[in-house]
Symmetry: C2
Subunit: 269 residues, 2 copies
């Protein structure tokens, strides 16, 4: 005989199948809801956290016993607002712990330890992961996705990430970067550097013949992407060598939907 | 009896005491002349190499048997112009060799091996030096002095290095960079990061509330200097750990007269 759940059982079941996790980073306020095994994701600007709170309040309506699990720096900074405004529980999870557990859960079947986890958000954390329980933030850099957006806003007047990716896809770094070939006239073979390698990112923009610099916005954004990508690949490679780790896993908002970045990375590493 | 030199002996003596070395980098064309143990240095823009050639021609007048020793990428690129225009010999010395020998000569009495030599010109070379004869370029980055000048030209309309240093000295990164405290509201003590550390260089400039970005030129140039300096300190530190080397020696045009850079470096390392 089929069991018909009582009203209280229905609510209990719903509760068991309703999870909300949020990540409040330097730029983005990310909300993920799972209801009956269906995931929904929504992203707000961290600056507009009011809008995110209104959205969250709707999600948790009639579910005062739900617990929102929060991570990211903003989960600490906004904890008072969360407690005051939301009619449910709010718990902060350490960012590194959530990051590692998330990476392990997503790659469980194919995961081999140890690996370097590069989390590229506004800033960048580099974590050495030896197992789901043993991990350590070994390094980090302030040149991340926030640098790309911020500099692009200043250089090209655009800060929307998707627009920037479209702009960069039409750009070239030849008129902006000083290439090995610009300096040597050819490859610098003594050091194994090809003529097409950027010797100095944005190096051409500071030459007096370029003042006022007449580079096109798409070229500036492309060079910026190349600079950030080169640098992150370099730093992750040094860390992987230093910690004797073969595998590097990329995560974070800067990587999400950024095919150009992945392509550059694969060429570099 | 005092020996009175003959005319040919005088010329020979002068020749022995007359040396010219040049370094033609991505941005700067540096000329150093030693005449009778007196050193003179003159710097031109590599773009205006015509002016440098006229100056060099004057230096070598009446001394056709002098040999100019040249290094830097431009020494290859401009070798035909040199041969055609200058009435003396011209020999190219490998840049890394000249760099290491120069560093060893300047620091001979206090030098302890091994050391990491960071040569920060337009671009950056990182050399592991085990002795004056045994050295290897182990790493490098395109984020160097040329990046500072180029981006500063684009962001603040100034590319003269001295002017930029003066501008940066009046700046602050608080309105430009996204600090750990901006994200977390305080220190991120789990990872040992203080609230005042930049989490994302230029991260504030990409936030929608800052578009159009209203940062002051001096703040942009200061943040740029901090970004380049942080990144170079980071990369040199990773290399020193990777190669098990305690000492890091800084060289190159970006360091010359750049007290702010040295100060930042000392804080970071």
């Amino acid at each position: 005989m089929k069991h018909t759940p009582s009203e209280s059982e229905s609510i209990d079941n719903e509760r068991k199948h309703h999870f909300i996790g949020i990540d409040i980073g330097g730029s983005l306020f990310k909300i993920s809801e799972c209801r009956n095994c269906q995931w929904n994701h929504k992203i707000f600007s961290t600056e507009r956290y009011d809008d995110a709170l209104i959205f969250l309040k709707q999600l948790v309506a009639h579910d005062a016993e739900l617990t929102i699990s929060a991570t990211g720096g903003g989960s600490y900074r906004l904890s008072r607002e969360m407690d005051n405004y939301l009619p449910c529980n709010y718990q902060i999870i350490d960012e590194m712990e959530a990051l590692v557990l998330g990476a392990v859960a997503l790659h469980d079947s194919e995961m081999e330890y140890p690996f370097i986890l590069m989390n590229i958000g506004s800033g960048v954390s580099i974590v050495k992961v030896e197992s789901a329980e043993v991990y350590r933030r070994v390094s980090g850099t302030s040149l991340g996705g926030g640098t790309f957006r911020g500099m692009a806003a200043l250089l090209a007047g655009v800060s929307d990430f998707k627009e920037l990716l479209e702009l960069a896809a039409r750009g070239s770094s030849q008129g902006v970067d000083l290439l090995v070939g610009d300096i040597y006239g050819s490859d610098y073979s003594n050091c194994g550097l090809k003529a097409t390698v950027p010797a100095s990112s944005f190096g051409k923009a500071g030459l007096s013949s370029s003042i006022p610099p007449n580079c096109k916005p798409e070229d500036l954004v492309y060079s910026l992407m190349l600079m950030i990508c080169n640098n992150l690949a370099h730093i992750s490679f040094l860390n992987s060598q230093l910690h004797n780790v073969q595998r590097i896993l990329l995560a974070g908002g800067f990587v999400d939907g950024n095919g150009m970045y992945i392509q550059m990375w694969l060429i570099l590493i």
